[in-house]
């Protein structure tokens, strides 16, 4: 332990910490560009200069380790002057791009200039000009003028994914960030460099110029792209997701996510969404309301005997949806044929984040009871379809048409399906329930390690209004602006808060979709059950009371970070 004094505050910190880390521990933010907690120390930006007693010159806080008895000043005149000088120097060749720069609003350079900058520049000469639209690969566009040469992106490839893809050439004001000759930036994790770039030099081809950061609402969620369940923010404007960025969770994804995961919002916005429940009339699916759809499904299910119906849960659906589905299957439909499909892409896995299991909740579905009890699994269900054992197939949030045979076998039975997007199973359905996507409902996923994590409503379904999701900030809660970007503080953009039904920007598309647990409850109650869940948290409460692995868990406990199931 080392006893050090920072700005008059004396604290004991662990040996080996740097001044910057020690200061962060006691809530003092030292401005920095090149330092990143997950990367090696580069010490090239000089933004973190602080004054240390008995040291002849200012020292960089990111690379100076604490020593017992050290006295550090982060706000002295000398430090302030140094910061102004560093910023003035960086800005010499930095373009005046803020109005068109995607980073504005979450830009370290912009924020620090505002807080610590000199307020003017003495540089009257022409700025150095460099290429402004350099495609670095399929997903990234580089603006060389904006780069401040912090080397975070270079270190990310070298150290985190161990696949060097970027480097600097030239020196001084001619320095250029570039790929190796003839190579592209195509690592499956490449887009993380967009997030860690402290300025707007690296931009996402997909999101480029789409929206200003402050106009979007950032909602905490979990990526549905694979069994890792990376923590993410969904950035929404006009009820449309515009981008997905990683949310720090040191236990799951640390600071990162894969490029594939960033595009998992596409199906939510897609044209093939099912926007209303549908029933089959004269061989055609027609849109209807929930009352009629539920009624129709109930009348189909009423006539079947136990074990004449096969029920399929889903590894894409939440724990709550799957739990209620298996309860419905076992206690109301009284069928033994309950299972879900696995979507494992063998080989598409690495030892970083990406998992071969391409679904977010296969472990959860299994744990809450959607599993084949010896000899009543998916293979037996297909066999049963062949022998015409079943009258009805009930599918929740998945496409069970794996091949042409199943496609034609579904002609022989009535099909009830929950679906977010059109698919092959929907084509064969007699009743289609318009299902809420992962961005339109609340619930939990269990990742492959057994961590239960919460997803939240980011895109409003028809029956939700913004005020229902408000978590008004308390007075005095706003933290002083330190230049660190707190995404959670951006949550709830002004537009989202104050839009009325007469504003076009507040009236993005609202789909008439429902979470699957709600639909199952309606159908079950029509068939004589007495389910009385008011929200997904009620369902989760029952899960935590009945499923051993979930004992003691609650939404509060899960919070933003998730919580582990009991494995013993």
């Amino acid at each position: 332990m080392a006893k050090i004094t920072i700005d008059g505050k004396t604290v004991e910190v662990k040996d080996g910490l740097t001044i910057l880390q020690a200061a962060q521990e006691i809530g003092i933010d030292i401005p920095h560009f090149c330092y990143h907690p997950a990367l090696s120390i580069a010490g090239n930006c000089r933004m973190c200069l602080v004054e240390v007693e008995k040291m002849p010159k200012l020292a960089i806080a990111c690379a100076t380790r604490v020593i017992d008895g050290m006295v550090v000043y982060t706000q002295s005149e000398k430090v302030k002057k140094a910061r102004q000088a560093v910023l003035e120097f960086i800005l010499i060749n930095h373009p005046l791009d803020c109005p068109i720069c995607d980073e504005a609003g979450e830009c370290k350079l912009q924020n620090y200039t505002y807080i610590y900058g000199p307020g003017h520049s003495r540089f009257e000469e022409e700025k150095a000009h460099k290429p402004k639209r350099v495609p670095l690969g399929p997903n990234i566009v580089l603006d060389v003028e904006r780069c401040i040469m912090c080397s975070r992106c270079v270190r990310f490839f070298d150290e985190i994914v161990k696949d060097p893809q970027l480097t600097f050439t030239q020196r001084g004001d001619r320095v250029v960030l570039t790929t190796f000759p003839g190579k592209r930036v195509d690592n499956p994790y490449s887009m993380n460099i967009i997030d860690i770039c402290p300025v707007g030099a690296l931009t996402s081809k997909d999101f480029r110029f789409k929206e200003r950061t402050w106009n979007m609402t950032a909602v905490e969620s979990v990526c549905p792209g694979c069994a890792r369940g990376c923590n993410v923010y969904l950035w929404v404007r006009n009820n449309q997701i515009l981008r997905i960025t990683p949310r720090v969770n040191l236990e799951v994804n640390r600071y990162w996510m894969c490029d594939y995961g960033r595009f998992t919002y596409k199906p939510v916005n897609s044209d093939d969404r099912i926007k209303n429940p549908m029933i089959k009339v004269n061989g055609e699916l027609v849109e209807t309301d929930w009352e009629i759809a539920v009624e129709t499904a109930a009348s189909i299910l009423k006539s079947v005997k136990p074990d004449e119906v096969a029920v399929l849960g889903s590894a894409y659906a939440t724990n709550e949806d799957n739990y209620l589905l298996q309860k419905f299957a076992k206690s109301v439909l009284k069928t033994k044929y309950v299972d879900f499909l696995r979507h494992v892409k063998d080989g598409d896995e690495d030892n970083f984040l990406i998992r071969a299991d391409k679904t977010p909740n296969s472990y959860g579905a299994y744990l809450v009871g959607v599993r084949s009890n010896n000899g009543f699994g998916f293979n037996e269900i297909v066999e049963g379809l062949r022998t015409k054992k079943f009258k009805v197939v009930y599918v929740m949030d998945d496409d069970i048409v794996l091949n042409d045979e199943i496609y034609s076998l579904l002609d022989e039975v009535k099909v009830i399906v929950h679906a977010t997007n059109k698919n092959k199973t929907v084509e064969k359905a007699d009743v289609v329930f318009a299902s809420a996507s992962f961005a339109e409902k609340e619930g939990t996923f269990t990742n492959f390690e057994g961590r239960v994590q919460k997803i939240n409503i980011a895109v409003l379904p028809k029956d939700y209004e913004p005020w229902m999701l408000y978590k008004p900030r308390k007075f005095g809660e706003v933290k002083p602006n330190t230049g660190e970007i707190n995404k959670a503080n951006l949550a709830l953009s002004r537009l989202f808060k104050f839009g009325t039904q007469f504003d076009r920007w507040a009236s993005g598309e609202r789909r008439n979709v429902k979470p699957s647990w709600w639909v199952i409850m309606q159908v079950a109650n029509k068939l004589g059950a007495k389910f009385t869940y008011a929200s997904s948290s009620d369902v989760f409460k029952e899960i935590s009371e009945t499923i051993r692995e979930f004992k003691g868990l609650s939404y509060d406990l899960i919070g933003d970070e998730g919580a582990m199931i009991n494995k013993n």
Binding site: P99, I100, R208, E211
Partner: protein
């Protein structure tokens, strides 16, 4: 009744109408003619009113009419780079900007630019904040619409050539 004098001290005076009138006033007619003579004298003085709408008022450069988007004379496209600062500063949340990429040098342009004229309060903050001098207050003060939808002005109504806004642009430079 209380009267406040310039120096701030108040003094109270009692109102006694009847007792206050002198004989001439009480005669009534002299006072009537006095009043009428003032009115008739105005007839021969210069007019302050317009025969609106036949005659239209030409506002000075400092006037804040409805905000419009400036089309640059040289490039022929709007100056706006869709930075959204006007939308952010607008206290009435009247502006919606949707940006997209363009091949032009400015890189970014407004795919959609809408001002809801039912929300706009003509404060001019959008003009003040714009880094490109791309949105300015015009001299237009006649706004008529019969539905909420009509009140939302898109780019078709907003785009105005810089040559027509010379007055205002000069005024802005002068005031900078």
């Amino acid at each position: 009744m209380t009267q406040t004098k310039i120096d701030g001290r108040a003094k109270t005076r009692e109102i006694k109408r009847k007792a206050n009138l002198n004989l001439l006033e009480r005669l009534y007619l002299p006072e009537i003619f006095k009043g009428l003579s003032i009115t008739f004298r105005q007839i021969f003085k210069p007019k302050f009113t317009f025969e609106y709408p036949d005659v239209k008022w030409q506002p000075p450069a400092s006037f804040r009419g409805r905000p419009v988007l400036v089309v640059d004379d040289e490039t022929g496209v709007e100056r706006c780079v869709a930075c959204g600062l006007c939308a952010r500063v607008c206290p009435a949340l009247a502006i919606e900007v949707v940006a997209d990429e363009t091949e032009l040098d400015k890189e970014r342009y407004p795919k959609k630019f809408e001002i809801n004229m039912l929300r706009c309060i003509y404060c001019g903050l959008c003009e003040e904040v714009c880094p490109e001098e791309a949105i300015v207050m015009s001299k237009e003060y006649e706004l008529v619409f019969t539905s909420r939808e009509e009140a939302i002005f898109g780019k078709d109504k907003l785009l105005t050539p810089a040559s027509k806004l010379k007055d205002r642009l000069e005024f802005l430079r002068k005031m900078r």
